[in-house]
């Protein structure tokens, strides 16, 4: 009898609401769209994200510690393995930092070729970003189209450096060797086909209703928040902050080239998509200017075999495809750096994930991870 009474008393609807729990979903480290070994612990209410925590470090190799035990020159190849998607940019950032510390002047010719290669790396990185981002949202054809063009860039890298992915393209003081014959033609051929190919991707995505529905107003971040959380690169520019290290603090010969900094307005996933597409076009513009203006001269400066920079510390950063990539190197006057600190853009960009994801659906988390363009090699170091 008592039980019957109890049943009558209980408000089933209320009990039901109380009984629903948050579902903890463990996304990664083995998941198709966390771009590596990122682990995101999601707290879901139905399919909406109420809380999330990133667990990183699955790819921690201790690059900073390793570089303390190697000479300045030997540590350079390790830096390629940070952001392995644009190894050239990583290499450049490290090499430039050491050059700045040691006061090495790089000849103009080497500078121009460095610019060409890093801009190619930017295009290739953005292509890979677009490919995986689109695949995450379900557009699988763009994925293969992008890889087709990336292949061309990797061929050029192979031609110049002998390697396709971790190229170790530069040396302290300049380049390891002069560019081979046919380099100019290969680069120009690539620049020829690129605009048409970018419009192919745009035809598939830019005005696609589903793409708009999936990216507009998803992962919105205001410029103030973006700066506070430390976003850099296209993710910051998507929020409308017109800041690019190539313009703000020109390194190499970037002050000699004409290019625009594309910015977004709403700071959503769609704007970041447009910004990156435009950045590819601008990178092509820089490459075309540089390839026509390669000056005559040496490809490397004279650098002592055993490099011993004077005591001191230097922070230098470049505009890598993913944002501000900086190296902080302390020299104690010996052949090995005392401390190397890598400021990877992805590490800071990933911090924004929580802010951007709360209140969105699980499917949006995937889109937002994609739009932040993270590489775990650089986050975990």
């Amino acid at each position: 009898m008592d039980e019957v009474k109890n049943i009558n008393k209980t408000n089933f609807a209320e009990e039901f609401v109380d009984a629903t729990e948050e579902l903890v979903l463990n996304m990664g480290p083995q998941h198709p769209s966390t771009h590596g070994v990122l682990r995101v612990i999601l707290k879901l209410h139905h399919e909406k994200v109420v809380d999330l925590d990133c667990d990183i470090g699955y790819l921690h190799r201790g690059v900073e510690k390793i570089s303390e035990t190697l000479s300045y020159k030997l540590a350079a190849p390790y830096m390629d393995r940070l952001d392995y998607i644009s190894a050239v940019s990583n290499n450049l950032a490290y090499i430039e930092t050491i050059e700045k510390l040691a006061g090495v002047e790089v000849p103009k010719k080497a500078q121009y070729i460095r610019v060409i290669l890093t801009e190619l790396a930017r295009i290739s990185s953005h292509l890979l970003w677009l490919a995986t981002h689109a695949l995450d949202i379900g557009a699988m054809t763009v994925f293969l189209y992008c890889f087709r063009e990336r292949e061309e860039i990797l061929n050029i890298f192979e031609m110049v450096t002998g390697a396709r992915l971790t190229t170790n393209a530069f040396r302290i003081g300049g380049l390891p060797q002069d560019v081979p014959e046919g380099f100019e033609k290969a680069v120009k051929d690539f620049c020829e086909i690129l605009p048409g190919r970018i419009s192919e991707y745009e035809a598939l995505l830019t005005k696609n209703r589903i793409w708009l529905a999936r990216t507009k107003n998803v992962g919105v971040i205001s410029p103030e928040d973006a700066i506070a959380i430390g976003l850099t690169g296209p993710s910051l520019r998507g929020s409308g902050v017109k800041w690019d290290l190539r313009k703000a603090h020109p390194y190499e010969s970037y002050n000699e080239f004409e290019f625009d900094i594309p910015t977004g307005e709403n700071g959503d996933t769609y704007d970041r998509y447009l910004v990156r597409l435009e950045e590819m076009r601008q990178a092509r513009r820089i490459i075309l200017q540089a390839i026509d203006g390669i000056p005559e001269g040496d490809f490397t400066a004279k650098v002592p075999k055993v490099l011993k920079p004077p005591k001191g510390e230097v922070y230098h950063s470049i505009e890598a495809p993913k944002g501000e990539l900086g190296f902080y190197v302390i020299s104690d006057g010996s052949t090995k750096p005392y401390r190397v600190k890598i400021k990877g853009p992805s590490f800071y960009n990933l911090q924004a994930l929580k802010k951007m994801c709360l209140g969105h659906y699980v499917a949006d988390v995937v889109a937002i991870i994609g739009t932040l363009d993270i590489v775990l090699g650089e986050i975990d170091r």
């Binding site: 379900g138 699988m140 054809t141 293969l144 995505l205 696609n208 589903i210 999936r214 659906y361 499917a363």
Partner: protein, 337 residues
Amino acid sequence: MEFLLVVVVKIVIILAFISLGVAYLTYLERKVIGHMQVRLGPMRVGWHGLLQPIADGLKLVIKEDIIPTQSDKLMFILAPVICFLHAFLVYTFIPFDGPKGFWGYGGYISDVNVGLLFIVAIASVGVVGIILGGWASNSKYPLLGSLRSVAQLVSYEVAMGLAIMGPILLAGSLSMVDIVKAQEKMGVWFFVPQIVAFIIYFICGVAETNRAPFDLPEAESELVGGYHTEYSGFRFALYFLAEYANMITVSAIAATVFLGGWLMPFPSILGPYLSFIPGFVWFALKVFFFLFVYLWIRATFPRYRFDQLMAIGWKILLPLAIANLLVTSFIILYLKM
């Protein structure tokens, strides 16, 4: 006795045909999408990879059978079978050819007066297999996937059911054969007067079969594999075959109800020249057309988000289907008066 023999032979033929069709639909998908994506697709096994489906099937059969320890074992084993069974059961009522087809034996296993209703009913039992599979895996991704698929299938079934009411009203019958005959009599296939219903039906059909851009229950970039994440080997193959069989079903219903089934296009013009082609060839061509559109869509579109998918189902397709049904019935009433 002869009747029984005929039925058994027909069942064997149709089952073999459909199984082979399903296997080669995977090949077709890989080839078509491959060429759309500037690559070749399977090329290694056999001439232009023609034996690839068989190699895949063999691989899946001889793979280790894994049943997760934490799963509900009975349900885990049962679920893909339910899915598979109902996907193939539907073919009982689909007319591949007219009553005079198949050398006079009738181009279908059975023609009942509630055929279409029966097909829709049976096809929706398949979703039980998906729910059970996701639930029995006792894992979070399959659970989310199966929950999504329940919500999706239930909401799209309503719009789909209402959409095929239009042609049924025109034909005045639920029998698949009668629907085709009505189209023959009317002289125009139902997709012309029922263009709205046709479009709604096809969109719902894509959603019903969990295909892109509505492939949320198995969205691999979000839910890893959706309801079949924990399945492997032959059990996975059953789900896989069921999905492709469902694609053929949806295409076959569309071909029958809207595109005149086994009928020849423009019989007054082409009739004298092409009458030697049997009806099932026309039927197969129509089904192939729908399947090709399926694959084309998959290669072109990104994936919808779950809430957007539901919004399309309930806010756009369902009202449209109801409106179409009302308009059709009023026109029929007016014509009869």
